[in-house]
């Protein structure tokens, strides 16, 4: 169980998070969504313990937490195999065990042909898969993913999403996925939290009645249009509402 309770966070005297609370149960997929700059990454970094909130409680009862950053963050001087095994190496696991395990992972992630390639030889999507594999290698029970599908074209995006869902189900992992794409969130999440910017608050919660694999396109579009018809959600995502934003009015009139 991961619980964030009334998190406040200030950066350079600006209030970034204004009392954000969330909880994530084992095996559940939570999508954190909202427009760019609404503090999604900050929530994730606080959950991972990378930064401390100014006030509020972070309670992470999961035994192992894996983190996939927005950028792959691979070691440029190490091959796919060595990058996959980075976390295992940090735990002091022997070379032969590491090799065996990273080969297994590569098979599950379709990385076998590039096992001995260096990151600069891989495409962006491949690099992101290596980063996902590296996070999975340490056998976490919670996976935090910050915009994992960024920079992928539509086809690769779907392919990667399906692979991720399969891996999460097979390993019975809890996951928190950041996405600024509401449709993607409806496709993947058991639960969605919609965040609004400046100051960042959770303005809406959505719960799916179906498991991710049981959702068809019709279901996704129906739920999406229902979500967007809600005032508090559309205000976050719709551009034409910018004109009523206090900052916009102050700067332009």
């Amino acid at each position: 169980m991961l619980i964030l309770d009334r998190i406040y966070y200030q950066y350079n005297r600006n209030l970034v998070l204004d009392g954000v609370s969330l909880s994530l149960a084992p095996g559940q997929i939570l999508c954190l969504t909202g427009p760019s700059g609404c503090g999604k990454t900050t929530v994730m970094r606080i959950a991972a313990g990378l930064i401390c909130p100014n006030s509020g409680v972070v309670n992470n009862k999961f035994t192992g937490t894996g983190y996939v950053f927005q950028e792959p963050r691979l070691l440029p001087w190490r091959t796919t195999q060595e990058n996959l095994a980075f976390g295992l190496q940090a735990q002091g696991i022997s070379q032969s065990k590491r090799d065996r395990y990273s080969q297994e992972l590569a098979q599950q992630l379709g990385l076998e042909p590039v096992l001995h390639y260096y990151p600069h030889q891989l495409s962006g999507g491949m690099q992101q898969r290596v980063a996902l594999g590296r996070a999975l290698a340490i056998n976490p029970d919670l996976l935090l993913l910050d915009e994992p599908f960024k920079g992928l074209d539509v086809g690769r995006r779907r392919e990667f999403q399906e692979m991720l869902l399969r891996l999460l189900r097979d390993r019975n992992l809890a996951a928190c996925i950041i996405s600024h794409d509401l449709a993607e969130a409806v496709r993947l999440g058991d639960r969605i939290l919609v965040m609004s910017p400046s100051p960042s608050r959770i303005v809406h919660q959505w719960q799916s009645s179906l498991s991710p694999t049981a959702r068809d396109e019709a279901y996704i579009y129906r739920e999406l249009s229902q979500l967007l018809s809600l005032n508090q959600v559309s205000r976050c995502f719709r551009l034409n509402n910018i004109s009523s934003h206090p900052k916009f009015i102050k700067n332009n009139f």
Partner: protein, 267 residues
């Protein structure tokens, strides 16, 4: 039939270094033309130079001089690399230290090596101390600046990633700090080595009785142009050897991930 096959094989094996061979060939050709035009007293031909090198090698002069100069270089270059890198790392970590030491480094960079030679001749007299000191002082700023750059460009996102995995300190050093540092320090190593050779010859020429520079001076006094040319050629060959047979293979071994070409640093 057999000979054409043989020459084909040779051509094939030389193909990867063709640009280098063309450059070298052009250089030798213009040297030969110059020698034919000005006469061997002013500019000895490549062949006469080669004969002179052979003579120096067989009389043992070459070995002695190379040994002495290599000794000067090894001691001074190691000192410069260690000192420069350590100071550079400190300056990269502590802004205060960087601000404090920067004027000194700039001054060191600005002082011509010849000034150091004059000064150290007064301090130490003739001997090994002058070339060693001068090479160290001349090369140190290059190593220092390389190390500062390395620390300032350190990829903190990678460090954050590594810390999430609770990476132990020694593994951080081995997997993160050293590879990154080496990437930035290597070009400085090349530049520093070229500079070291030039300064070494100059310092020996003016202050020593042994070493390549001293032999070069002796050849000048004897008006033996063949031998002067021979010593110059030996210096150039030594730089090639140290760069292509020592430093570059070292880099390939330590950085197999890097395929990009790095600029050749012989001036």
């Amino acid at each position: 039939m057999n000979s054409t096959l043989w020459s084909k094989n040779l051509l094939h094996s030389l193909k990867p270094i063709l640009p280098e061979l063309v450059g070298l060939g052009g250089f030798l050709l213009s040297w030969q033309l110059g020698a034919m035009h000005y006469g061997s007293v002013v500019l000895p031909s490549p062949r006469e130079t080669a004969i002179a090198i052979w003579r120096l090698a067989t009389t043992g002069k070459l070995g002695d001089a190379l040994l002495t100069t290599s000794f000067h270089l090894l001691v001074a270059f190691t000192l410069a690399v260690l000192l420069g890198t350590v100071l550079g790392i400190l300056a990269g970590i502590k802004l205060w230290f960087k601000k404090a030491i920067s004027p000194i480094i700039t001054a060191l960079q600005g002082i011509p090596p010849i000034a150091w030679i004059v000064l150290t001749l007064l301090w130490f007299g003739t001997g090994n101390a002058v070339p060693i000191f001068t090479i160290t002082v001349a090369t140190l700023p290059i190593m220092f600046l390389g190390a500062v750059e390395a620390i300032e460009t350190f990829p903190t996102p990678l460090l954050e990633m590594a810390n999430l995995f609770r990476t132990p300190r020694n593994m951080l050093l081995r997997e993160l700090y050293f590879p990154h540092l080496f990437t930035y320090i290597f070009p400085s190593l090349l530049a520093g080595l070229g500079l070291s050779w030039r300064v070494a010859v100059m310092a020996e020429l003016l202050s020593s009785e042994t070493g390549i520079g001293a032999e070069l001076n002796l050849a000048r006094i004897n008006l033996d142009t063949d031998e002067v040319m021979a010593w110059i050629a030996i210096v150039v060959c030594s730089i090639w050897v140290s760069e292509y047979l020592l430093l570059r293979p070292l880099r390939r071994r330590l950085e197999p991930w890097r395929h990009s070409q790095i600029p050749v640093n012989i001036k």
